[in-house]
């Protein structure tokens, strides 16, 4: 194992990101412990999604450092991080709309030998065998997400909640051990919400996958997350268990009178 012993799954130190004059991230620091489900909460515009994009290599940071299991990954490209075991989902699902549901998952597997020219022209037997194995893996993930009956439907035909599940499925296909989930419950109906919550908890417990999730549904955060960070104006203003963070007056002030008590 190349990972440093005892290093957290993810360590973010002083992460800064500016867009023109707007400071989206202003020296945010937090850690995600190996095997945990960690929550990232905060009012709109706090910099949560920017933090995800910057960690996962979609934006170049203007400052700070990101370490994956002790290894510096600051500014690494998304496809490099994917191979290193870090996957992310999007707040608004971004599926490959002209691909089928199962193809959406298959594309997100680790790089395939059939993706390297000229193999598609000459090694078709081997590729067919690899594809069968990959399809079986994708089918297993779809079964886990209760999406089996939609396998061959175009991804554009799914409901918003199902699209969220396909996003999660794509992250699972990568074999990632650390998954960043951007609002897994947004726009999802109550039944599907329970399903998603169960799936995340089960993946964490049974497969040891570490999650960092952004979520506005604070009850869900309380249910799933071992540790929570509250972000405001690009900085971490509170951390602890959900109960501790909820009780912190600084957090209530950041939400500016927003009801953060359960309704």
């Amino acid at each position: 194992m190349s990972q440093a012993a005892g290093a957290p799954a993810l360590a973010v130190e002083g992460l800064t990101k500016r867009f023109g004059g707007v400071v989206a991230l202003d020296g945010a620091s937090f850690t995600v412990q190996e095997g945990s489900v960690t929550g990232l909460i905060g009012p709109n515009g706090a910099g949560k999604s920017t933090a995800f994009a910057t960690i996962a290599g979609f934006h170049a940071p203007d400052g700070g450092r990101v370490a994956l299991r002790g290894r510096d990954i600051t500014g690494a490209a998304p496809w490099v991080l994917h191979r290193a075991g870090l996957a992310r989902t999007f707040q608004i699902p971004r599926l490959f709309v002209r691909l089928s549901v199962i193809e959406n998952l298959m594309v997100a597997a680790p790089p395939q030998s059939g993706e390297i020219l000229p193999a598609p022209w000459f090694a078709r037997g081997r590729i067919a065998r690899e594809e069968a194995a990959l399809r079986a893996r994708a089918e297993a993930v779809l079964a886990q997400l209760n999406l089996s009956r939609h396998a061959d439907a175009p991804a554009s035909a799914l409901s918003g909640g199902q699209k969220k599940l396909v996003e999660l499925g794509r992250a699972l296909m990568s074999g990632a051990s650390l998954i960043l989930l951007d609002e897994p419950a947004a726009g999802v109906n109550r039944t599907l919400l329970r399903e998603i919550a169960h799936t995340i908890a089960a993946l964490n417990r049974e497969h040891g996958i570490t999650f960092l999730l952004i979520e506005h549904d604070l009850d869900l955060v309380a249910e799933l997350c071992h540790h929570v960070y509250c972000l405001a104006e690009g900085r971490v203003i509170a951390s602890g268990t959900m109960a501790e963070v909820r009780a912190d007056p600084v957090v209530a002030e950041a939400y500016l009178g927003m009801a953060i008590e359960p309704t």
Binding site: F58, W79, R88, R94, L95, R98, E103, E115, P120
Partner: protein, 305 residues
């Protein structure tokens, strides 16, 4: 009988060469979503490469080297791909619409180089004496044999394009075309995949250029113009159905037939109008495209994907 056979062979040979070109554009646009408005540049790269390698020695330009066509054609495809490499490597890292602008520019640059670098290309006089395969068979079997050769090349390119589109490589290209950011999240490097598709399509265009040079037995800066080498190919792909390799071939044959028919029609016009034939032809091609898109918006065989 013989003139008809010869006319048919000429018509189908050119349609076949256009099919190779359209298959190349379909790899770039239909499968990957890359806008290449400079097919002419890649056609010219292949045409000049094969012309110089196969033509007899001449004092007017470098070479020729008198190679057989079957050694020169693969290198013509390679020339198309190599021309695409720097353009793609630079512009595909930016937004994909920049590629469209870059290809327009490169096509003009290739044309200017062909016209002005006499030592390399023979300048405005071009390269003559390019041997046409099977010419020794005489009329009409020589042209028929060449047509069969072009047909075999198109069949090979079709098989290659289909295998590409159906492979995991093709699936990743379609994913990137659908959503680049999501493709990154899925662990794929969009620029690297796009560059390969761009080069592959350009190789098809280079090969088409080589076939064209051997069919004309001549290559010069005026043998190719943007209307026939770039615009017509787009019309063929859109009419046949972007995304479908069979559509690309059908579109090439159908639009080439319309193009040839307008040539005949224009010749029937009285003197005054015949001089206007050039734009009348373009108008008729545009009309044909409009009609197809009106009644089959996805093209003749398009998947609509």
């Amino acid at each position: 009988m013989e003139p008809l056979l010869l006319y048919g062979a000429t018509l189908l040979t050119l349609a076949g060469i256009y099919a190779a070109l359209t298959l190349g554009l379909n790899l770039q646009w239909g499968l990957t979503g890359l806008m290449n408005f400079g097919a002419l540049g890649f056609v010219a790269a292949g045409a000049y490469t094969s012309a110089l390698l196969t033509a007899p020695p001449s004092a007017m330009h470098v070479g020729g080297f008198g190679w057989p066509w079957f050694l020169a054609w693969p290198l013509a495809a390679l020339a198309g791909a190599l021309l695409a490499l720097p353009i793609g490597a630079i512009s595909l890292r930016l937004r994909t619409d920049y590629l469209a602008m870059a290809t327009i520019g490169i096509a003009e640059i290739v044309r200017l180089v062909a016209r002005n670098e006499d030592w390399l290309t023979g300048g405005p006089l071009g390269i003559t004496g390019i041997p046409r395969p099977f010419e020794s068979l005489g009329q009409p079997w020589g042209p028929v044999a060449f047509l069969l050769l072009v047909g075999a090349v198109v069949a090979l390119l079709y098989a290659m394009a289909e295998a590409t589109a159906r492979s995991p490589f093709g699936r990743t290209l379609r994913a990137i075309r659908d959503d680049e950011e999501a493709a990154k999240a899925a662990g794929r490097n969009p620029a690297a995949f796009r560059l390969q598709a761009f080069m592959l399509g350009a190789a098809c265009m280079g090969l088409a250029g080589a076939m064209l040079a051997h069919f004309f037995k001549f290559m010069g800066p005026d043998a190719l113009d943007p209307v026939t080498a770039t615009f017509l190919v787009w019309v063929m792909l859109i009419a046949g159905g972007s995304g479908s390799n069979r559509g690309a071939i059908l579109g090439a044959v159908a639009i080439w037939a319309v193009w040839a028919a307008t040539d005949w029609l224009a010749a029937q016009l009285p003197g005054e109008l015949a001089t206007r034939a050039a734009y009348v032809r373009l108008f008729m091609i545009g009309l044909a495209l409009q009609l197809i898109l009106l009644y089959r918006p996805q093209g003749l065989l398009g998947t609509g994907r």
